[in-house]
């Protein structure tokens, strides 16, 4: 893990690990994203997993759903951290964008990634 901006992906089940793996496969960049699963966690233990993944560094936390246990745990533990930004509705396009913008401040990286992720949602 480098000292640049860190991405933490918090999802139900094995979704986060799969998204991180796929992002690394597509981008060729590894070590910038940390997957966190809510499996087997109550609120406190999930919060602890997320905090451990952030590891005190500036970070963007990507959450699967715009409500529910993953988001609640993230916000409960990190909402007072000015160097952590949160994005919901994580998708692959969002994470691929993120790993190429690690020099941005957290809020700017989050906005950039969210824009890319939103553009990826289409009905072709």
């Amino acid at each position: 893990m480098s000292d640049t901006l860190r991405g933490v992906v918090v999802c139900h089940g094995t979704v986060a690990a799969a998204l991180v793996h796929a992002t690394e496969q597509i981008s060729g960049l590894s070590g910038h994203l940390v997957p966190v699963s809510n499996t087997g966690c109550d609120r406190e233990s999930l919060e602890a997993r997320i905090e451990e993944a952030v590891a005190g560094q500036p970070a963007v936390v990507f959450v699967d759903m715009a409500s529910g246990s993953c988001l609640i745990a993230t916000l409960r533990r990190l909402r007072e951290r000015p160097d952590v930004a949160v994005v919901t509705g994580v998708n692959l396009a969002m994470l691929v964008d993120f790993v190429f913008h690690l020099s941005l401040p957290p809020a700017a990286a989050a906005e950039h990634a969210a824009t890319s992720g939103g553009k990826a949602i289409r009905q072709p």
């Binding site: 139900h12 809510n38 087997g40 966690c41 109550d42 609120r43 233990s45 759903m65 715009a66 409500s67 529910g68 246990s69 988001l71 609640i72 916000l75 409960r76």
Partner: protein, 158 residues
């Protein structure tokens, strides 16, 4: 039967509750009994984000809920009674053993002193004994995380 589900789930309001149970039971209200959430308006707002607009949320601390549970049962609103604590559940059962007759253990996760009974149920010996006591008083206690799973009787969690 306004209380259509009485559930212990230490994740409180999340997908299994709102979607897994709420939809098939046609629940229109979630009665969240949690002292910490009841004392924190910011956190209440967060949980309100987790439910559809046509589902109401009432948040109460355990003392207020014990007083209110009979009234909730009397109201014609299909409701899920939800707490993360077996201790709170015991108090709610004592307050109204008829309304809180059927108890669903939906998610009680690992903490020091607890042992695994099912992948989603960890209990300390004292917690298990408390549930046995409820059963001896007439409660129907089963573990079942989602409606599509088979309910597991309390004795099978020994």
């Amino acid at each position: 039967m306004p209380l259509v589900l009485c559930r212990v789930d230490d994740r409180l309001i999340h997908g299994q509750v709102v979607i897994g149970w709420g939809r098939p039971l046609a629940a229109r209200r979630i009665l969240l009994v949690d002292d910490e959430v009841a004392a924190n308006p910011w956190e209440q707002d967060l949980y309100r984000m987790a439910v559809p607009d046509d589902v109401a949320i009432v948040v109460a601390n355990s003392a207020d809920a014990s007083t209110a549970v009979a009234g909730w049962q009397a109201e014609p609103v299909r409701s899920i009674l939800l707490t993360g604590s077996i201790e709170t559940l015991v108090a709610l059962y004592a307050a109204d053993p008829v309304a809180v007759h059927r108890i669903n253990l939906g998610g009680i996760h690992h903490r020091p002193g607890r042992s695994e009974r099912l992948p989603y149920i960890y209990l300390s010996p004292a917690e298990y004994d408390a549930l046995l006591d409820l059963e001896a008083q007439g409660a129907d206690v089963t573990a079942q995380d989602v409606p599509s799973a088979s309910p597991v009787g309390l004795r099978a969690l020994a």
